[in-house]
């Protein structure tokens, strides 16, 4: 079907099988990685810059408790977080002095080794799936056709226009909705080519054996503790992406959006022109 012929209400093929498979694999894997990662963080709720860092060294982020108050201290500024971070009550009503609460961690109770097992097993799934998806997306044109930012899209006025449209919750309709807009491209490129590779390589940098195998990792990230900090920041970058992603899916029509990520078929948004149903069905056949 020609782009020009597309109109709101048309059902088009939007997501390839590789994208759909990878999307749901990631949804599960990243959730497990995040929650088991927060449990690992609970073993030492401080982050540092540089090669070393322990309790006597200067931390840029501390999640801890002091007496009966839990707090987060970021660059020296302390915010009280009693009940949620630093000190909280578990399901059995016991007071726990750990950074992240039980409802955010895998396992829900403090168990460093179990959390490490979850984390390091799912890390394989994350890394292998990302590698395969990158290769597949280069091969099948997903990168070239869908993610590639065209020259005209780089114009500041175009980007500014898209930001304003998003802020007003006015999303593309009709044929324009089939392609990723510039903000979507930024978001997806950041996740696929920046955040996920960074989080994998900073994860590897925390391994003493990997430091011996690939010493350049330490030079690249400026030390094991810097790598641990970047790893944590990437995780929160992915969490931020998740919340924006959820908001966009809900605002853009959750049923249509979720269906398109399951079946691949997407109904172009906007006011549908009255068209006889059979015609739509036959057009759908052509696009498939």
């Amino acid at each position: 079907m020609e782009q020009a012929d597309l109109k709101p209400g048309d059902v088009v093929k939007r997501h390839r099988l590789s994208t759909r498979l990878w999307h749901w694999t990631n949804a599960l894997t990243l959730l497990v990685m995040l929650m088991s990662g927060l449990m690992i963080f609970n073993a030492h709720g401080r982050l540092y810059w540089g090669q070393y860092g322990a309790n006597d060294d200067k931390a840029w982020l501390i999640i801890d408790d002091a007496g009966d108050t839990g707090f987060v201290e970021l660059a020296g500024v302390r915010v009280e977080t009693t009940g949620v971070l630093g000190i909280w009550t578990n399901e059995e009503g016991e007071v726990k002095r750990r950074a992240f609460p039980y409802w955010l961690t895998i396992p829900s109770g403090y168990d460093l080794q179990a959390a490490r097992r979850w984390h390091f097993t799912f890390a394989w799934i994350l890394a292998i799936a990302l590698t395969l998806y990158m290769l597949r997306s280069l091969w099948n044109g997903h990168v070239r056709n869908d993610l590639h930012i065209r020259k005209w899209e780089w114009s500041p006025s175009h980007i500014w226009h898209d930001i304003k449209e998003h802020a007003r919750l006015r999303f593309p309709t009709g044929a324009a909705a089939r392609d990723y807009n510039i903000l979507q491209k930024f978001a997806y490129i950041s996740v696929i080519f920046v955040l996920l590779p960074l989080i994998i390589f900073t994860g590897l940098t925390m391994s003493p054996a990997m430091n011996a195998a690939w010493p350049w990792l330490l030079d690249l990230f400026g030390g094991r503790q810097s790598a641990r900090s970047i790893h944590f920041l990437c995780a929160f970058g992915l969490v931020a992406f998740f919340f924006v992603h959820m908001a966009m899916v809900i605002l853009a029509g959750p049923v249509n959006e979720v269906r398109s990520m399951i079946t691949g078929k997407y109904r172009l948004p906007g006011k549908a022109e009255p068209a006889p149903a059979p015609e739509v069905a036959s057009m759908e056949g052509e696009t498939a």
Binding site: S108, P208, N211, A212, A213
Partner: protein
Amino acid sequence: MSGSNILLPRRRFLTGAALGGSGLLLSGCDALTEDPGFRSLLRTGEALNKGAHRLIMDRGALAREFSESDMSPVFKANGSISGGTPEYAAHVADKFVRWSLRIDGMVKNPQNFDLKTLMAMPSREQITRHDCVEGWSAIGKWRGTPLRLLLQAAGLSTRARYIVFHCADQWGPGVPYYESIDLIDAFHPQTILAWSMNDGILPVKHGAPLRLRVERQLGYKQAKYVMRVEATDDLSKFYGGKGGYWEDAHDYDWYAGI
């Protein structure tokens, strides 16, 4: 179902679904964590990691060595901060002059090395990073006797597969600390039994008189208060059978390269 339930506001529905979903996920994950089958599935990760590390890493690949300016101002003392036996206390009292390291097990000539002899042997100095499984790191300077020299002096049997380190610190009645490594790490140039730390005699809180340094693995492998080194072909014969105190008590990975 009543009409009001159907007309549940979307936000409340979503919040409920998210909380319910997260609760299900949590209890599901906890149940999986306890499930022996799933635990062994997760454990394959350990074998995979060790295999991958050994595949891409040269056997003799060195851990990063730092300069003096990189050293931690304070090196955190973790785990035991003293040996737990009366014998150990007596050795501390007379500054380890009557102490000696026993090397036995699958060796041709079991023998004892006193501290003076160890210090007179060729030694290696290295400024390396100590990584705790909890996530923190400290950089310190170590000097000690390469383990391979001691194993060679004792005539390690060709049937030996692992080296077990018996320690003086106690983690309960009749539960001494111990650790073990394979021969790749035992013969690694940076694997030393350190008797000096940061240019001084190894302090008690850091494992006097001898502490193992296996620089490509995590902190719980760096056994303190080493009293005896035993060569073996089978780790299942020792204590809980998993090759180390934390491995037995808390199911830690025996391979601690990650």
